[in-house]
Amino acid sequence: MTFGSLFFLTAFLPPVLIVHAALQGGGSRRRTAAANAWLLACSLAAIFLSDLPGLKWFVGCAAWTDLATRCVSAALRRGRQRTASAALALAVTADMALLCAFKWLSSSSAGAGADAASAIAIPLGLSFWTFRAVSLVWDVRRGVHPPPPTPLHTLGFMALFPVYVSGPVVRWSEIGGAFERRPFDVDLAASGMRRLAIGLAKKALLADNLAPFADAVWALADQGLGVPCGMAALAVPAYSLRLYFDFSGYSDMAIGMGRMLGFRIPENFLWPYAARSVREFWRRWHVSLSSWFRDYLYIPLGGSRRGAARACINGLVVFTLCGVWHGNGLMFALWGFWHGLLICVERLVAPSPSQRAARREPTAGAAESLVSIALSRVWLLAAVAFGWLLFRSATPATAFSMIRSLVGLAQPSAESRALWLECTPVFTAAFAAGAVLCFPVAPALVRLARRVLPGWAVLLAKNAAATALACAALFFMVSGTRQSFLYFQF
C-alpha cells in the first residue's frame, strides 16, 4: 500500500483522518491518548496490509529500542555512564545488525540465481525505522530528551504511517511533543492537505512522466548499447529531476499527512538544485538523512575538529556508508564516495566562511559576481548529475557505457532510434516544468501574491491550485501509468 494508491488515498486515509480529528478535539491529554491509540492501530493496520512478514521484525526492533531507552535513562539517572553507553551500543548494534543482515541476505539470495519468490524480502521501510530507532536511543543517551512516556509511545513513534516506509528520518525530539498534546488545528490540517496534493502532483505529473525516457536510455546502456550523445545528455538531467520530484514528492506527502494528524514533520528537501556547492546541496537534499549521518556518525568520528585531512577521511567514510545505505551494489558505494570526494575537494579548494574565519582568512565579499554564482551553480548541477549517473547505473559497465555515450565516443545503436518514441509531448512538458520548478519559483510567486492580495485570497488561490494539481495527479494515477516510488527500494 503506497501513498499514491487509490486504496490508500480513498479508502484508508479519509476514515483515519476523520476519526483522528474527532478524537483529537481540543488536544487534552485524554483525547490525545485516544488519538494516539487510534493512530497506532491505523499504522499497524497499514503495516499489516503492506508487509505482514516484516511486521514481526518491526515490532521486535521497537521493543528492544524502547527497552534500551529505558535502560539508558535509568543508568543515567543513577550516574552510570558506562552502563548507559553499553546499552546504547547494544541497541545500535542490534539495529545495524538487523539492517545489514537483511540487506546482505536479500542481495545474496537475489544474486544466487534464485527466482523472485525465493529471494529474501527486506522488511518495508527497514532502513528508515532502524535509523529512527538509533536516533531515539542515542538522543536519550545524549540527554536531548527523556525516553517516550510509555512503550506504546515508542511503538506509535516508530510506526507512524506517514513516515514509516520512506521517511523522513524524523526524531523524537522533533515530534515527540505532539504525542503528549495534539489539538486539532484546521489551518495546519488544511496546509497538510495542500502539501499532500503538491506531493501527489510532483510524483504523478512530473516524476512518472520523466521516468520512461530515462529508463529507456539506461535500459540500452545496461545492454552495453550506444546512445546518441544528445539523448544521453537529456537522460541524465531527466533522471536527476525524476529522482528529486519522486522523493521530494513522497516527503511532501509524508509532511502533509503528518500535519493533518497534528505532527509538524521537518522539511526534508530545501530546493537542493538551487545550492551552489556540494556541501550546501547536502544541507538541502534529504535533510533528515544527511543530518542523521552528521549527528550520529560524522561528529562521533571526530567531524572536522581534527584537521582537514581527518575531516576529509571522515567525510569519505560517511558518504560511502550513506551510499551503501541506499543499496548494497558497488555503484551506490561509488556514488557515496563521489560525493565524499567532492566535499573534500570543495573543502580544500573553496573553504566555507566558517572555515575561513577559523583560519583567519578574509571571507568573500557580500557582492559576488554573477559569473561566480553561475559557475558555482553549473559546477553543482554537473557534479550532482554525474553522481546520479553512477547512482542509476546497476553496474560499472552500464555507467561506463553511459559516459561513453555522453562524450560521444559510443556508436549509437539501431535500438537507440526507438528513443524517439519516448520523447513525447508529455515528457517534454514534464522536463520543462521540472527544470523550472526544481528551483524556488513557487515560493517566490506566493510571496509576490501576498504583497498584492489579501490573506484569504492567497489562501483561496493556494487551495484552488492544490485542488487542480491533485485532480490532475489523481487522473494520471487512475490511468495506471503510476510507478512505484524510487525510494521504496532503499
Binding site: T10, L49, L52, A190, A414, T424, S479
Partner: protein
Amino acid sequence: MSKTGKTEKFVSAAFLAAWIVALGAPNVVRLASSHSKRPLFLPFPAKTENRNPHQWPSLRKNSPRYTKLREIGRALEAWYSDSFAWRTELLAAWRNFSFNVLKSPDGRDVPGRGNWTFRRGGDWSELEDWLGAVELSAEDRRNWIDLVEGRREWAEAVGAKYITFPTPTKAQTCFNEMYPALRAHRGRSLRSQIQETLRDSPARDDVIFVDDEFISEREERGRPVFFDSDHHPSAYGVWLIYKKLGRRLAELFPGRVSPDPMPWYDAPPEDVLAGRAPGCWAERPGDQTDAPLGIRMKISSPGERQLMNAFPQGSKRWPYRNAATARDGDGITVVMAHDSYMRFSLSSWREPEGSMVFPFPQGVGKVYGHIFQRLSMGFLQHQISSLGFVPDVFIDQFPECRLDKTAHRYLDPVTRSAAAFARAGAAGAATRSDALPSEGGQIAVRVVFDDLGATSGADAANEFEATLTAGGCVLDRQTLMTGPKQALFFGPLDIPADAAGKNLEIELPQGISAKATMVVWRTMPPSNR
C-alpha cells in the same frame, strides 16, 4: 480572532472538508449502491483490458479466490483498484485526454493525425520498425535465407510451390498520418533488410512484398488500406494483398490461374456498421454506444459466424481458426497459413451461408486457410498426410514488424538441411544416388517417399522415425508422417570412415512401407564446411 483570521479559517475548513468528502465519495457511493442495480460500479470489463478483474480475496483454502494472509493487502488493493467507482469512465476520459490533449501514447498506442493510431512495443513494434530500431544480425539474415530456400527446396521435392508474403504495417505505408516528430526519423525497416538479404537468392521471387502497392493506393488514390484506429489492414488492403498473390500464382501456374483479380467488393461503411452487409470498418467516436475507451472496429458478418473446419485441432479460441473453401470446377489447391492480421477484413468476402471466400483469382480451387498457424515442418507433413494429396502451393504469411523473430522461430532442422542441399546444388555439386565418396567429406541428403503408408496395425496418424544409414553406421534420424508424398533432408553430415564408399540407405520402422524411396546426396562445397 480578527475578521480576516476567521475568513481564512473558514476557507481552510471548507477546503479540508471538501477534500475529505471528495476522497471518500467513491466508497460512499459504492456502499450505497449494489452492483446489480448500478452497473457503473462493476469491475472494469475484461474485454477492454484483456484480463480478468481481481476478485475480493478469500482466506479460505478451498475458495477459488484463496489468498495467503501475507498477500491479503496486495490482493485487497488490486480488487479495490479494479472495482473503483467510475474507474471505467476515468480510464475512458484518460484515454481521450492523453490522445487528444496530451498527444501522447496511452499504453502502446501512439496517436497520429486525427483519429490515427500506431502501435509500439510488445509483439507489434511497428513504430520501432519505422524508426529503424531493429537491425537484423548476420545470423538473422542467414536464417532468413535458410528459411525461404529450404522451404522452396522441400516444396519442390514433394512437387509443390512455396510462397511467403510479409504483410506491410500501417507505419510503413500510412506514414503521412504520423506526427512529423516521428515521421522525420525514418530508419531502415526490416522489410528493406530482408529484401537486401534475399537479393541474390534464387528464392527471391517467392517472397512477395506489397508495400509499394499500399503506399501508392494510399498516397495517390487516398484509399483506406488500413483502419485509422487499429493496426489491421482494411478490407481493401487485404484485397490488394490477394491481388498480388494471385498474380504470382498466375506466373507459377500459367494457363491454370487467371492473372485477373477477383473484383473488389465494396459494401458501404454505413451498411457494414449497421450490420446489414458483411465487412469491417472503424467506428468514429460519435458512433460509439458501448465502447467507452474510444474508437473500436466494428466487424459485421450477417448470418452464421462459424466456419467449416477442415482440420479441427488445437485451440478453440477462435471459431475461424481453420477455414476451407472450394470453388466450382477444377483449380489449383492452396494451403495457406497466416496469423490473425487479416482476419477481420476477411469478413468482407464472407458468403451468406457463413463460409469464408478468399479473394483469389479464378483457377484457384480448394483453399485450406489456417489462421494462427505457421508452416513448420510437422505442419507441412501433416497437411499432405491428412489431405491425402499434395497441394499445388503452400503459402505462408508474416507481419512485417515481426520479421526479426520469424525465421528464428520457424526454422527447423529439416528446412536448414533442405537449404544446405539447395546450396550444394547451386554450387555445382552433382546429385548422386550411388555409393558415397571413398575419400569422405561432407554431404547433404534428400530422401523422397512415394505412398508412404502403414501396412499392418500401425497408426498412420502418428509420427514415426526414419533412420539414415550407410555401411551399418547410423548417420541421422528424422521424423515424418504417412502420406502420398513425403520428403526429408539430412545434413550437412560428415561421412564416417566406416561409411565411406558405401551406399546410403533409409530404414523405416516395422509396419511402415513406401511404394518408392529415392535417396540422393550432394557433396557440400568447401565454403559451406
